[in-house]
Amino acid sequence: MSTLVSLDITDGIARVCMRRPEARNALSRDLITQLRSTIEALRSRADVRVVILEGDGKSFCAGMDLKAVATDPVAMGDMLRALAETSLAIRKLPMPTIAKVQGAAIGGGCGLMVVCDFGVTHPEAKVGYPEVDLGICPAVVAPWLVKKIGAGPARAMLLLGGTMSGAEGYAKGIASHCVPLDQLESATMALATGLAKGGPLAIRETKRWLSVLDGSNDDAAIREAAEISAKIIQGGEAQERLAKMWGS
């Protein structure tokens, strides 16, 4: 298996980078698997103060790579379950997490941004949850959105589908920071460096309580949501719309 996810740890800052730039880092089965194992290995690293999740190339992540398994609806369901487990792994990292989002963060890609503690993006980025446009149910990523922006705004966003600009995503609260594209790296590093200066025990305790209070540790609810998405994507409506999109 080629290396689809790289890891660099320097001065307590871990950079987890998705590396399928030719596919805008679309989440293939292999990429999701490697992302999950990379993240899980960081969980016990006491020397890591901050984790940055990023994507190589012009985009952070274009979403699920469903076309690669176009003829296999069961595989699509399994990929959504794997995305749920990866999201849980990210949320359970004891140190703060930052998504550095350039270009696109769509569907599952937007889910990866929102599950992180911070999302740093730029005004022209393209973010959002267009799942329903394709007959797909975004339940798998919905719990993290609800926790981030509240049930009312999440309801409208998930039902309306489509995408929005990074500036609009920031205004709606799905990104925590919005800076010019040429400052994305420096702003992300300034945030990471600032976080790394905090007392590691104190900051982990704060994060632990944030997750206790917002129900982030309810694995069963996350997995149940993933099952709903898996069921819907295997149905006729989603398969017809996906086939039409791919012209097959």
Binding site: P96, D117, F118, K147, K148, I149, G150, A171, G173, S176, L191, G194, L195, K197, G198, G199, P200, L201, A202, I203, E205, T206, K207, R208, W209, L210, L213, D214
Partner: protein
């Protein structure tokens, strides 16, 4: 004035025939830091307001304000350095003040004219309506001294929901615009000179409402958003105390204090 006298750190004015209690931090020399004396005066003012308001039939309102450069700069760190047990004491007293504000049987308005940091930010989260001037800042810069702001999370979450992750973890302060976007500020007053008048106007606007209805909806919101969940308040207080009394915190506090004493 309830507490007229020299060298007060807080003024407590009773306005509008007893309807409006304005409690103002006025220790600009120490940026309205929460010292033992400041907590004593805050406790006394909140207790006096609470007991007189509880005995009233007519509408009441509490307005928490400040004069000087800061709204409140958080704990008196010098006292924490001098006495290693003081951090725990201050956290306990902060929790008491937060609970008194939340259980006040009338709306509590905050007028934030400058930085509200750490314990100062925690007090703001305990208020019901937050009005901010352009120089207001909100932050918990306490991870730098090895302290977790867990104590503030139930009330912070009540205002910001998921935005609490950004506010509680962010290493840099949020400005008033960002705090408004996250729900911690409800009204932004562009002209700093207009903040006083506007916060009084909002308080008086509340005095025109039905007092039982106000007290009742406040109680319901307290129960609904978890900000008065005693188990959560106790557990998050304990979490902050545990970090505040840790070796990590003593070392980081000593280093931070030393760097603050260097001439600038």
């Amino acid at each position: 004035m309830f507490n007229a006298g020299m060298d007060r750190l807080i003024t407590h004015e009773v306005l509008d025939d007893g309807a409006l209690h304005r409690i103002t931090f006025c220790d600009d020399a120490r940026r309205n830091a929460l010292s033992r004396a400041m907590f004593d005066e805050l406790d006394a003012a909140l207790a006096a307001a609470s007991s007189t308001i509880a005995g009233r039939q007519a509408a009441s309102c509490v307005l928490l304000a400040a004069t000087g450069r800061a709204f409140c700069s958080g704990f008196d760190l010098g006292a924490c350095v001098a006495d290693p047990t003081m951090m725990g004491t201050f956290l306990q007293r902060l929790s008491t003040a937060v609970r008194m504000l939340r259980s006040m049987p009338c709306p509590v308005v905050a007028a934030v004219q400058g930085p509200a940091l750490a314990g100062g930010c925690a007090l703001v989260t305990a208020c019901d309506v937050v009005i901010a001037g352009p120089a207001a800042r909100f932050a918990y810069p306490v991870h730098r001294i090895g302290l977790s702001p867990a104590i503030s999370l139930p009330t912070l979450r009540g205002h910001t929901g998921g935005g609490a992750r950004t506010v509680a973890l962010a290493p840099e302060p949020l400005d008033a615009v960002a705090a408004r976007a996250l729900g911690l500020v409800h009204e932004l007053v562009d002209d700093p000179a207009a903040l006083d008048a506007r916060s009084l106007a909002v308080s008086r606007h509340l005095l025109a409402k039905g007092p039982q209805a106000l007290a009742s909806i406040k109680r319901w919101m307290n129960a609904h958003d978890g900000s008065c969940d005693l188990a959560a308040l106790d557990a998050t207080l304990a979490a902050s105390v545990a970090t505040g009394l840790s070796d990590e915190s003593s070392a980081m506090l000593a280093a931070t204090w030393a760097s603050m004493q260097k001439p600038r």
